[in-house]
Amino acid sequence: MSLLASYIEHAVAVFPSLLRGAVITIEVTTFAIFFGLILGTIAAFGKLSKRSFFKIPSSVYIDFIRGTPLFVQILLFYYGIPGLINGLTGEVFRIDPIIAGIVVCSINSGAYNAEIVRAGIKSVDRGQMEAARSLGMTERQAMKDVIMPQAIRLIIPPLGNEFIALLKDSSLLAIISVHELSKNGMLYVSKTFAAFPTYISVAFVYLALTMGISRILNHIERRLGVSDRSE
C-alpha cells in the first residue's frame, strides 16, 4: 500500500512540470503542423509538376526526409548545421532548441504531408480534370474549384494521423533538451528515480493530447462533409 501511496505522491509532484512540458509539446506540434502543411503542400505540387525544376527538388526532399530517422535529423540540424557553419565561417552559431525543434519537425512532417496531399490529388478521378478543362477552365481554376475540394476530403483523415504521429514524435526533441513533456519526465526521474509513476503519467498526458487532437479532427471532418453538402 505504501508503494501505491508513494507512486501517487510522485505523480502529483511531477504533474505541474509535465503540464509545462505539455505546453511546449503543444506549441512545437502546432507550429510544426502549420509549417509542415505549407511545406507539404508546396512539395506535393512540386512533385506533381511536369517541370523538373520543381519536381526534382521536391522528390529529393521527400525521399531524404522519409528515408532517414527523425532522431538523426534532429541531431543533424541541432548539432551538425551549427558545426558546419562554424567550420566554414569560424563563427560560433547557436540555435534555440525550441526553434530547432519546430524547424526539424516542420521539415519532417512536411515530407509526409506532401505524400498525403499528392496521393489525395492523384486519387481524384482523371475525368474531373478533363471535364473542367473541356469547359475552358484553366488548370489552376480546375485545381481550385474542382480537384482540391474533392481531394481535401481524402486528405484530411490521413493528415490527422500524421498530426498525431508528429505530436508523439516531438518527444524525440528531449535529446536536444527541449523541455517538452518527455524531457520534463526524464528530469524528474533523474532526481527521484521514480520511473514508473513518472513515465506512466507522461504516457497518460500524451494520450490525453492525442485524444484531444482526434476530437478536433473528427469535428473538422464532419464540418467539411456537411459544408460540402449545403454549399
Binding site: L135, G136, P149
Partner: protein, 240 residues
C-alpha cells in the same frame, strides 16, 4: 465548322490515329462508329485538345487549334464535351455543376449564371433536380446534367464521347432525346456512338473508323444498308 487535315496521334510507339482528314459543316450531326481501339474516342478528344495531336491540323470555325500559340482554353470554351462517364463534379449540386464554368470562365455574374443554368436544366427536363447532388441522380439524369453543363458555355460545337454507353438500357432514350432536340436546333455535333437508331434518325453523316483511319463515310442510309468496305460490313454485321 471543323476541318481536320491529316491528323496523326501516337501514344509512345502506339500509332492510334493514322491520318484523319475530314470536314464537318455547321449544324451537321456526324456520328463516328467503329470497333473499340479504332481511335474514334482519340479523334474526338483531339478536337478539343484533351489529347495533343502528334501531327496534322485542326481548324474549328476557321481558327487553327493545332497552332502551338493558340489559347487552348479559348478553344475549349467554344467546344462542349460530354463524356461516357458523365464526370459531373460530385461536390456540387446539379445547378452549380452547370453554372460553374460560365461564372469562372466567362465571368458571368452569379445570378445570371444560375438563371442560365436553371433554364438549361429545364431544357433537359431536370428543373426539379437543381439542388440535388450528382450521387442522388440516375445515370441518365447525370448525363443530361452533363449535357446542360456543356451547353452552359454556349459552345459552337458539341462533342459526345459514347454518351450512352455507361447507361442502363432504360435510360438511353432520355439522353438521346435531349441530343435529338439539340440536333434539331442546329447544333453542330460529333457523336461517337454505337446507337445505330440515333445515327440513322439524327445523323447527317456516319464515319466508320477502324485502325486509326476513316475507312468509310456516307449518309446513315449508305453506311448501314449499303456499306462498300469489307471491314465496315463485318463490323456492322456484329452490332446490328
Amino acid at each position: 465548322m471543323i476541318e481536320v487535315n491529316n491528323l496523326h496521334k501516337s501514344f509512345g510507339s502506339l500509332h492510334v490515329l493514322k491520318g484523319i482528314t475530314e470536314k464537318i459543316d455547321e449544324s451537321e450531326v456526324v456520328c463516328v462508329i467503329g470497333p473499340s481501339g479504332s481511335g474514334k474516342s482519340t479523334f474526338l478528344r483531339c478536337l478539343n485538345l484533351l489529347e495533343t495531336p502528334t501531327s496534322g491540323e485542326i481548324r474549328i470555325d476557321g481558327e487553327k487549334v493545332t497552332d502551338p500559340k493558340v489559347n487552348i482554353n479559348k478553344i475549349r470554351e467554344e467546344v462542349g464535351m460530354v463524356f461516357q462517364r458523365f464526370n459531373l463534379f460530385p461536390h456540387m449540386t446539379a445547378l452549380k455543376n452547370v453554372a460553374l464554368a460560365p461564372m469562372k470562365v466567362r465571368g458571368l455574374p452569379e445570378k445570371e449564371a444560375y438563371d442560365r443554368a436553371r433554364d438549361l436544366l429545364k431544357k433537359v427536363g431536370l428543373e426539379d433536380k437543381a439542388n440535388v447532388y450528382p450521387s442522388s441522380l440516375s445515370g441518365g439524369q447525370q448525363q443530361r446534367v452533363a449535357i446542360a453543363r456543356a451547353l452552359a458555355m454556349r459552345p459552337k460545337v458539341m462533342l459526345f464521347d459514347e454518351p450512352t454507353s455507361a447507361l442502363d438500357p432504360e435510360m438511353v432514350g432520355e439522353v438521346l432525346n435531349v441530343m435529338k432536340d439539340l440536333a434539331k436546333e442546329g447544333m453542330t455535333m460529333v457523336v461517337v456512338t454505337h446507337e445505330m437508331g440515333f445515327a440513322r434518325e439524327v445523323g447527317d453523316r456516319v464515319l466508320f473508323m477502324d485502325d486509326g483511319i476513316i475507312v468509310e463515310k456516307g449518309t446513315p442510309q449508305e453506311i448501314f444498308f449499303d456499306a462498300q468496305n469489307e471491314r465496315t460490313k463485318s463490323f456492322l454485321s456484329k452490332i446490328l
